[in-house]
C-alpha cells in the first residue's frame, strides 16, 4: 500500500503541482486551508505518513495548524514539511520550534522535493515500526500475564469457596502496605513498578491449594494434624506450579510469584512453613502478602469461622497470635489502619472502580516505561472505535450530535446536518458571537453536562431548533463525556433527539384548491348528497352565499346562531378546520335535528374558507320519532346545563374549569364586575337585575372575537378569556366594553343605569392570570367604572 500524504495549500496550482510530482509514489489527499487539513487529519490520523503544509492560507494558517497538532500531540506521530516562499530566518525558526520536520522553500526543485519527502517518510516509518514492535510486545506480555493471573486466581477462589473479594483485598492491602513501607523506610528501594508487580503476583499466593482436596479445604471444623500437614503442602506446591510454567523463568513477575507462593506462610521468627526461613531471608514480597493474608483471613467470614472485627484482628496480629512478623511491617499495618477498615467494609461493587484504577495505574506506568505518549496500537484501536461509532452515528435515524469541549468542535450526524441545514462539522462554535443561537444552545447543554458526574453522566434537555425548516421543540437524551476516574476531566457531550414537536402541530393534509367554477360544480354535486352545505368565511364569521360573484353577496350568519344555543360545536369545528387547514368530522345538533357534519378547509382562488357539509341523521336510526325527540331534548339539555349559563347564555363556570386550563393559548384574562349591582336588584327587583345581566352578557359577546370566551363567573361577575390577544389592543377594547355598558339602556327600566369595573391580566401562566386579574379588579374597584390591566411587569390604567 502506498503511504499517504496530505498536501495543504490555498493555491490550487501549487497543490496540483505537488500532487503531480508525488502521486506516483504516494497516495495524496488535498486540503485548501488549515480547517480542512485538521478535519482530514482527524480521519486519517493513523494512516498519514507526511503533511506538506503551506504557511500563509485563509481560514487557518500553517502556524495555527502546527499549534493545533502540538496541542493534541499529533506532531509526534505525523511529520510535517513546511513549504513556503517565505524564507526569512524568523519564519523558519518558528516552524521548527513548532515541531515541523523540514522546510522547503520555493522555487521547487522536483528532484529535491521528491528526495526529501521520501527521506522523511522512511525515517518516520522506521521509527514507527520500532514503536510498534515495542508496544506490541509490552501489550502482549501484559495481557498474557493478566489473563493468566486472573484465570489461576479464580480457580483457587472457586475451590476455596472464598469470595472473589479475598483476592481483591489481598491485592489492595499488599499495595497499601508496600507504599506505607516506602514512605516509612528511607532505605527501601522499591519502585512503583516493583509494587505493581508484587501486587499483581499476590493474587497467586494460594495457587497451590488447587492440589488440596475439597474435603480438607472446605471442612467446617478444625483440621486434624494429618489434615493440617496436608494443607501446609499448598505453599511448596504453589511454588512448584510457578516453576513448572513453560515461561521464561527470569520474568520478574514469575520470580515474585514464586516467592509469594512458596513463602507466604513463613514467619519472622522462623516458625512458619514450609522452609522455616527467618527474618530477612524471607523475601519482602512474601512477608507483605502473608501479613495481608492473615489480616484478611481474620476479618472475613470462612466456612470454619466468623468474621473478627478489625480492632480485635489487629490486636491478635500485634500479640503474635498468628505468628511473628517483621516489626517494621507491623508498624506499616498500623499506619494504614483506617484504609483497612474501608477495604474490609467495602463490597465487591465498590471494588470495581478501584480495579479500573489499578489498570489505569499499570497503563500509566507502562507509559513511563517507554515514554510512548500515543502509541500506534492505541491509535489503531481508536480508529476502529471511531469507525464503529461513526457507523452508528451516521445511521442514526434521529438527529444526533457530539460536542468535543476540549477541542471545541461540534459534529452532527448526517441526518442532523441535513435536517438542521447545518454543516456536519462545526469548528470552534464557542468562539462565535454571544448572540449566536447555536452557541447559546450549546452553552446551555455544556453547563448542564458539566453539572453531571462521571457516575451519572446522563441528562435530558429541551430546546427549540429549526428542523426541516420548521420550528420545533426538541427533547434530547444526553450524556456528558468524562475521562479519568480520579480527577474527572470534562471532555464534552453527546446527545440524540428522542422527541420533537412542531410548534403548530398541524398535520399536513391535502388542501383542495378550487377556482370559482370548480366550486360551483362541487356545490352542485354536494347538494345532491348532503342535506345542507354551508360555505363559511371563518375570519369574518359569516356564511357566504354562492353566486356568480362569490365575494360580493354575503349574508351574515345570524349572530345568535354563532352563540346559542349550540355555539361551541359549530364554532370549534369550523375554527379548528380552518386553523389546522384540515377536515373535522363532528355532530352538529340544532334544536330539532341532529346532523352528521364535515367541516373541510378549502381554498378558493387562494383564499381560505370552510365548507360545511351536513347530513341529517335519519329518524329510522331510532326506533320511533319519540325516541328521537327524547334524544334531542337530552342532548340539548346536557349541552346547555353542561357549559352554558341558563340566564345569560354565555359559558358558565364549569366551562372555565374544564376548558380554560386545557388551552395554552389564552394570553389575557379579564374580570368584569358590575358596580353597585346589589342596589339594582334592591331598587328595581330581580327581574330587572336578570335582564340587566342578559344585556351585559350580550354586550360582552358582541364585543369580543369569536374565539374569545365569555363566562359568567358568578352573580354579577363575568370573565373574558382572550386567545392570542395583542396586549396593545386590549385596553382600548376593554374600555370600549366599559363605555358600552355605561351607555346601556333597558327599555323596561329607563332609569336603570349600569357601570362596570374591569381588571385584566396578560400572560400565559393561567393560574396566575386569574389571581392577577382579580387583584387588578379590586384595585380598579376603588374608582369604579374603570379598567386596570396588569401587563406582566408594569401596570397601566
Amino acid at each position: 500500500m502506498k503511504e499517504k500524504i496530505l498536501i495543504v495549500d490555498d493555491s490550487s496550482m501549487n497543490r496540483e503541482f505537488l500532487k503531480d510530482i508525488l502521486c506516483h509514489d504516494y497516495d495524496i489527499i488535498l486540503a485548501k486551508n488549515g480547517v480542512e487539513a485538521i478535519s482530514l487529519m482527524k480521519n486519517h490520523l493513523s494512516s498519514l505518513a507526511l503533511i506538506l503544509l503551506d504557511l500563509i492560507m485563509p481560514e487557518m494558517d500553517g502556524f495555527e495548524v502546527l499549534t493545533y497538532m502540538n496541542k493534541y500531540q499529533w506532531i509526534h506521530d505525523i511529520p510535517v514539511m513546511i513549504i513556503s516562499s517565505e524564507n526569512s530566518g524568523k519564519y523558519i525558526g518558528r516552524v521548527y520550534d513548532l515541531g515541523a520536520s523540514d522546510f522547503i522553500s520555493r522555487p521547487f526543485n522536483v528532484n529535491i522535493v521528491q528526495k526529501r519527502v521520501s527521506n522523511i517518510i522512511s525515517l518516520y516509518s522506521k521509527q514507527r515500526r520500532l514503536k510498534d514492535i515495542v508496544t506490541e510486545q509490552i501489550y502482549e506480555k501484559e495481557s498474557r500475564s493478566n489473563l493468566m493471573i486472573s484465570v489461576l486466581s479464580h480457580i483457587v477462589e472457586f475451590r476455596n469457596g472464598e469470595s472473589g473479594l479475598h483476592i481483591i483485598h489481598i491485592n489492595m492491602i499488599t499495595e497499601k502496605l508496600l507504599y506505607a513501607l516506602l514512605k516509612k523506610d528511607p532505605t527501601c528501594t522499591l519502585t512503583a513498578q516493583d509494587i505493581s508487580l508484587i501486587t499483581m503476583a499476590s493474587s497467586l499466593h494460594d495457587i497451590g491449594k488447587i492440589s488440596i482436596s475439597d474435603k480438607i479445604l472446605n471442612k467446617p471444623g478444625r483440621l486434624t494434624p494429618e489434615e493440617f500437614s496436608m494443607m501446609k503442602t499448598h505453599a511448596p506446591i504453589g511454588g512448584d506450579i510457578i516453576r513448572g510454567l513453560k515461561w521464561n523463568q527470569d520474568d520478574p513477575l514469575l520470580k515474585v510469584a514464586y516467592e509469594i507462593c512458596r513463602w507466604h506462610h513463613e514467619r519472622w521468627d522462623g516458625r512458619g512453613y514450609p522452609d522455616g526461613l527467618k527474618g530477612h531471608d524471607i523475601p519482602l514480597s512474601a512477608q507483605v502478602v502473608s501479613l495481608a493474608d492473615v489480616y484478611d483471613a481474620l476479618t472475613s467470614e470462612r466456612c470454619y469461622k466468623k468474621a473478627i472485627p478489625h480492632k480485635k484482628a489487629i490486636q491478635m496480629i500485634m500479640n503474635g497470635e498468628c505468628g511473628q512478623f517483621q516489626p517494621l511491617l507491623l508498624e506499616c499495618l498500623l499506619d494504614i489502619e483506617e484504609e483497612l477498615i474501608d477495604i474490609s467494609s467495602s463490597s465487591e461493587e465498590l471494588m470495581n472502580p478501584i480495579k479500573t484504577r489499578e489498570t489505569q495505574k499499570v497503563v500509566q506506568e507502562l507509559g513511563q516505561y517507554d515514554d510512548l505518549t500515543v502509541t500506534r496500537q492505541v491509535l489503531d484501536q481508536l480508529d476502529i472505535e471511531k469507525i464503529k461509532s461513526q457507523f452508528f452515528f451516521d445511521r442514526q435515524e434521529q438527529l444526533a450530535l457530539i460536542y468535543n469541549h476540549s477541542l471545541d468542535i461540534l459534529y452532527f450526524s448526517h441526518n442532523a446536518s441535513r435536517r438542521l441545514e447545518l454543516p456536519e462539522v462545526i469548528m470552534r462554535p464557542m468562539e462565535r458571537d454571544d448572540q449566536d443561537s447555536l452557541k447559546i444552545r450549546l452553552k446551555q447543554l455544556v453547563e448542564k453536562a458539566k453539572a453531571t458526574t462521571i457516575d451519572h453522566p446522563c441528562f435530558e434537555h429541551e430546546f427549540i431548533f429549526d428542523i426541516d425548516g420548521k420550528t420545533s421543540l426538541c427533547h434530547f437524551q444526553c450524556s456528558a463525556i468524562w475521562l479519568d476516574v480520579e480527577d474527572s476531566r470534562f471532555i464534552g457531550l453527546m446527545a440524540f433527539l428522542d422527541r420533537e414537536q412542531l410548534f403548530d402541530d398541524e398535520q399536513v393534509q391535502e388542501v383542495p384548491h378550487l377556482n370559482q367554477t370548480q366550486l360551483q360544480a362541487l356545490l352542485q354535486q354536494s347538494y345532491h348528497i348532503f342535506d345542507k352545505v354551508i360555505f363559511i368565511d371563518v375570519l369574518l364569521g359569516k356564511s357566504v352565499k354562492i353566486t356568480d360573484t362569490l365575494l360580493e353577496e354575503m349574508t351574515f350568519l345570524e349572530e345568535t346562531s354563532m352563540w346559542k344555543p349550540h355555539p361551541m360545536i359549530m364554532d370549534d369545528a369550523c375554527v379548528q378546520a380552518y386553523r389546522h387547514r384540515s377536515k373535522v368530522i363532528h355532530f352538529d345538533y340544532q334544536p330539532q335535528r341532529i346532523y352528521y357534519a364535515i367541516s373541510q378547509y378549502v381554498e378558493v382562488d387562494g383564499k381560505g374558507y370552510v365548507m360545511e357539509y351536513k347530513l341529517k341523521l335519519q329518524d329510522y336510526i331510532f326506533k320511533n320519532d319519540k325516541q328521537y325527540q327524547n334524544m334531542l331534548k337530552t342532548l340539548n339539555y346536557m349541552q346547555e346545563s353542561m357549559y352554558l349559563d341558563g340566564l345569560t347564555e354565555v359559558y358558565n363556570r364549569r366551562y372555565l374549569e374544564d376548558e380554560m386550563f386545557k388551552k395554552e393559548d389564552v394570553t389575557a384574562l379579564a374580570m368584569v364586575d358590575l358596580d353597585y349591582f346589589k342596589e339594582v336588584n334592591d331598587q328595581f327587583g330581580h327581574l330587572a337585575g336578570d335582564q340587566a345581566l342578559q344585556e351585559v352578557a350580550h354586550i360582552l359577546k358582541k364585543n369580543v372575537r369569536d374565539r374569545d370566551a365569555v363566562i359568567r363567573y358568578g352573580g354579577d361577575e363575568f370573565m373574558i378569556l382572550f386567545y392570542h390577544m395583542p396586549a396593545n389592543l386590549l385596553e382600548e377594547r376593554l374600555n370600549f366594553i366599559r363605555r358600552e355598558v355605561e351607555k346601556l339602556v333597558i327599555p323596561d327600566y329607563p332609569h336603570l343605569k349600569l357601570t362596570c369595573t374591569i381588571g385584566c391580566a396578560c400572560g400565559t401562566y393561567q393560574q396566575q392570570l386569574l389571581k392577577q386579574a382579580d387583584k387588578m379588579m379590586y384595585q380598579a374597584k376603588i374608582q369604579r367604572n374603570s379598567v386596570k390591566i396588569h401587563y406582566g411587569k408594569e401596570e397601566h390604567q
Binding site: 496550482m13 501549487n14 503541482f17 503531480d20 500563509i56 513556503s84 520555493r106 522555487p107 521547487f108 522536483v110
Partner: protein, 115 residues
C-alpha cells in the same frame, strides 16, 4: 513555439527552470496552467477593493507561483508589491500594478502562442 523559445522570448532562464522541473512536459503543463490560475485576478480585485489583507495573501501566492515557473520579473514585481502592502503603503503598492499587469499580459500573450 517551443517551451524553450517561449522562455527566451520572455527573457527568463529556461535552463534553470528545466533543471528544477526535470521534465519538459511537466513544465509545459504548469506554464499552460498559469494562464487559468485565478490568483492574478484575485490580486487585482483585492487591490481595487482596498482589501489589504487579501491583497497581501494573493500577492504572496502569486509571487510563489511565478517563482516556481521561473517568471523572475513577475516574481520580483509581486514581491515588491507584497513588501509595500505589508508596510502599509497601499498607494505605492497600487502604483506598481500597471507595470505588473503589463508583464503579466505579455507572458499570457506568449503562453497563448505555445498552444
Amino acid at each position: 513555439m517551443t517551451i524553450q523559445a517561449f522562455y527566451e522570448t520572455i527573457q527568463e532562464d529556461y535552463e534553470d527552470v528545466l533543471d528544477r522541473f526535470m521534465m519538459e512536459n511537466l513544465l509545459m503543463k504548469y506554464v499552460l496552467k498559469f494562464k487559468d490560475d485565478p490568483t492574478f485576478d484575485l490580486l487585482k480585485q483585492a487591490l481595487e477593493n482596498h482589501e489589504i489583507q487579501e491583497a497581501i495573501r494573493h500577492s504572496h501566492t502569486f509571487k510563489g507561483i511565478c517563482d516556481n515557473l521561473g517568471f523572475m520579473q513577475l516574481k520580483k514585481q509581486s514581491e515588491e508589491m507584497m513588501v509595500l502592502l505589508k508596510e502599509g503603503a497601499f498607494q505605492k503598492a497600487q502604483n506598481l500594478f500597471p507595470a505588473l499587469c503589463q508583464e503579466y499580459l505579455f507572458i499570457i500573450e506568449n503562453i497563448q502562442k505555445l498552444m
